[in-house]
Every structure is written in C-alpha cells, then in structure tokens.
Amino acid sequence: MGDTPEKPLSEKRAQEKSEKEQVVSTEQMKQVFRKYVSDRKIVIADEAASSRAGLAKTLVELGAKTININMAGNLQVAEEEIARVKPHVVLCDYDIGRGLGLTLLQKQRQSQPETKSSLFILVTGNTSQAAVAQAAEEDVDTYIIKPYTLEILRRQMMKAAMAKIKPDPYFQTIDKGKELLLNGQIEEAMATFNAAMPLNPKPSLACFYLGQANLMKEALDQSHNHYNSGLNYNKIHYKCLVGLFELLQRRNQYIEAYDVVKRISQYFPANPQRLSSVLRLAIVTKNYDDIEGFYQTFTNMDTRSEEMIRYVCAALVVCGKYYLQKRFNTRAYSLFQKAAATGTGRTKILREIVVNLTSEKLANEAKEYLARFPAESRQSPDFIISEYLVLDLQYSDLKSIDEGRKLIQAGIQDAIIFKTMIRRAATGNRLEALEHSLIQAKKLFPDQAREFDGIAGIKP
C-alpha cells in the first residue's frame, strides 16, 4: 500500500486556516452562549431524572448558573414551573408521560412574550418524522435526539442560541421588516423585505413576508405570486405553504387549496387540524375516493390520536351520506361500517350514521347501528335520539310528535328532534303541533330558523 501523496503547501495552509477559523468561531460561539445563558432562567422537563441531570450539567458547563435551572419530571410540574419562573430557555422531551412536550411551548410564549431571546429545545428519543415535522411547524428552535453525544448536544444548543442572539444580516433585515409590518408600515416593510432578498440564496422567508404584506394591502394576486416564488426557492417552506393554502381558501379556490394542503400533509403529517382541512376539502372538491384512500393509510398507522380518529370517522360518514344520496347504497354501507369500526364505541359517530340512514328511510340498516351502541351508553342523549329516529320510521305522525315532545320535556332538546316533529306535523297537516314546534325550535335554535321553516314548507 503506497503512502498518501503530500498535499501541496497552499492547500495545507488553506486547511489549517479553515480549521483555525472553525476553532475560533466555536470559541466565539461558546463565549456568546456563556454570556447569553449566564443570567437566563431555565426549565428542563423530562420524565427521566438522569436526562434532566445530564442536560443541567451540560448547561452549567456552558455557563448557566445552577440556581437558575429548574427541573420538572412531568407535564403538570413543568407548566407550573414555567408559569412561576418565566424561563427564557426550556428544554423538554417530546413525550412527557402521556402529555406532549410541545404544549409547553405555548406556555413559555405566554409567560415570556420576548420570543427573540428565548429558546425552546426538544431533547427526545422520538425520532419519528411526524414529531420532527410538528416541532418544525411550531417553530421550535432545535430538535436533539437521544441518545446524543455531548458534542452534538452542545453544538445544537449553541447554534440555536446564536441564531437568536446574533442572527445573520438576512434574518436581521427580515426582523426589521416584521416590526414595520406589525406597526402597519406596509410599504416600508416591503422595501425592507426586498432588501433582504439578495442576502440569502434562497430567500423564501422574505418572499413569505412580502406575501403577507401584499395580503394586508388586499393585493391578493401579488401575495399569491410571492408565496409561489418562495416555494420555487424551497418547495417545503412551511410558512409559504400555509400562506398559500390560506390565500387559496380565502379566494374559494378549493381545488388548488386541496392540492396545497395535501402537499403540506405530505411533509407535515402530524397536525390533526390539518387532517380535518384535508378531509373537508376532499369533500368540498368531491374527491370522495381520496377519503377512502386516507382511511387505508390511516389504518396502517401504529399511533392514532383521538382527534385524528374523530376526523377520519366524520369524513367517512359524510362520504357515506354522499353515496347514499347518489343511491350507491352498498358503498355507503361499507363506509359507515368503517366509520363505526374505527370509532368503536363513539356514540356521536353511531348517531350520525343512524341520522343518515333514517333520513333515507333505511330502517333495518339503522337498527343495526342502534344495536352497536355500547350498553353503558343506552341512557345517553345520542342513543335516545338515535332510537327515536329509528322508531319514527314506524310511528304515526301523532305518535312521533308525541314521543318527540316527551324527549324535549325530559331535557333532550336536540335540533334533530324538532326537525322530525316539524316534518311529521307538516306532512300530517297538524297545524297546531307544527306552530308549537316551530316556535319552540326557533327559540332554542335561532340559527337554524330557516331550516325549520324549510322543513315546514314555509317560504322565506
């Protein structure tokens, strides 16, 4: 094996200079960080005591004072400490017990509105892309995975702090522009964001704020262009994606909005509110097949939050309703089955399915879902209302109105009961009952007055 050839002297010197510069800049970073952290209050939230101890030790080595470091072993204590201490720096795990560490970010922002000088750092064993994306969405300063090396821990903390304490000229200019925008000085803000553009090879953030500024001027086309420019530089720039999505929704461009929100979901999958937007837009744009596609993906997930389950079930039911109305009953039943199976025991889902089936007079199918209510929920309003709707299909007009009245007197004052009573009174020509029901319904549910009139056959 031959010797490695000698590097030319000039290359050697360049390398030495670069290494020296690196050492100098790391030293500078340490000094800046030491100065920053020396008088800052810190909260460390982690279930693992050794993790808390290790992080505290590293912070002290980097210049923090022990007396300024407060520990929390669970979410509740962490929330209390943040409220009490109002820390500039919070280090926490993504998962704290059954709770989410990210909820502490909002607490910190409430207690310490000066976000420019505060840090929120996640140090966690959760390596999932969903968790990482959610943290990035929430604008967490940095995300450190366990097990870490001390070098990575220190480097990540110092880098995060440097970005805040000594932002580069691009971010400094953007910060100036943001302040101007906040003060309503739109033209000056736009000039500042334009000045920021050449300071970064991919100035998506500047594009985003230009988009925001144009939005404030109601120049929607220009706003749209700026968001798109930002995405041309960086196709997953979160702010530009969300800005574009919200603009498209505002302009009722639902098909384009649906495309954008699907793209956001692809990169940032963990947001349940976004899932609801995707599902809602899938329905609005009549992409019902997509909802079934979502469901397939959803069933393959190991962890599903309560919110996600609710949204997916609700979307399946809406989808099923659509197919019922189109007389594709078999498809509708399949979707209702999936909704009921996924939302096991969730009475609201079962009730919605019964509502949809009874509205199409599918009594036997509705009875099947009535039977699926858990035993312990048979006294719940959801079950009682569902039962009423099923029995309504076999009652006479008078009996239905009477039974509806009993439920209302018993305190189950749901709009759907009134709608049923109004419908039966109208079709049965029972004018006194109709008038009485209408008055009561409109009093309790004034926002649905038009709908009640519509059912009663009263033209506006």
Partner: protein
C-alpha cells in the same frame, strides 16, 4: 388510489426508532428486560420503574439510566441493544460487555450509570452510533429547509 395514499401521508412517518435493551449483571444475578427485573431468573415483586434508558453516547461507552441496585462500580454489565428502526430503515443489534465506571443515585429510585465498552464489535458500535448521527443530521437539514435557514 395507491398513488393518492403515497401522496397524502406516509404512516411510517409516525414511527419512531425504538431501543430495546436487555441488561445482565452476573455479579448481582440481575437481568432487566421488557420492563421487568429478574433476580436469579425470578421476577422481582417490587413495583418500580424497571426501564433501562440509553441517554448518551460516549466515545467508547454509554450513559444509561436503570433501576436502583442494578449495579455498582467495577461490575461487568452485558448489554443487548436492539435498535428497531422504522420500516424502510435497517434495524440493528448491538451486543457488548461493559464495565461500570460510575454510578449515581438519582431521584425516583433510579441510577445513572456510566459504562465503558470492554468487549464489542467496533463496526457494530459505529453502526449504532451512525444511525443516530445520520438521523440528527437529517433533522437539522429538515429544520433548515422548513424555516428557510
């Protein structure tokens, strides 16, 4: 429909890497696995947190957190670390004999233990470290992209 599924979101995105650690201390005849503590093969009846957590990589060692009375200074500990990676990434198995360099009692009846590697496969060790280094770099790159840094 498959295209749409791939487009919407990837269920694998919700999966985190898992570390399953089996700790054996022949000196105390203790084995800790699956969240349970066994002494001479008999499960301990004491109700406590029996998890073993891997906190930090050292150059030639590691820092773990384990139940109290797991070990003392100078003990030899065998660790069997199974890295279960999300689908699409290679899982990994690392086995080592270590020596306890220091033990610190911490709250909640737990110990923080510094271990130095004694017997191990270098490639396997580097592979384990590399998984987390690579993932950390990926996270940093993603954060920079998202925020436009």
């Amino acid at each position: 429909m498959k295209e749409i599924q791939q487009e919407l979101f990837n269920p694998n995105d919700f999966n985190s890497a898992q570390l399953v650690i089996v700790l054996t201390n022949n000196a105390t005849r203790t084995e800790i696995r699956e969240g349970k503590c066994f002494i001479d093969g008999v499960p301990s009846k004491i109700k406590e947190d029996n998890s073993v957590k891997f906190i930090e990589f050292l150059e030639r060692g590691l820092v773990i957190e384990a139940p109290s009375h797991t070990c003392a200074m100078g003990h030899q500990i065998m660790l069997d670390i199974q890295l279960i990676a999300p689908k699409g990434t290679e899982s990994h198995h690392f086995h080592t004999t270590t020596k306890v360099k220091s033990v610190e009692i911490i709250e909640g009846n737990r110990q923080q233990i510094h271990l130095s590697l004694v017997q191990y496969d270098e490639k396997s060790w580097q592979k384990l470290r590399s998984f987390f280094e690579v993932r950390q770099n990926e996270i940093e790159d993603f954060f920079n992209l998202v925020k436009g840094n």
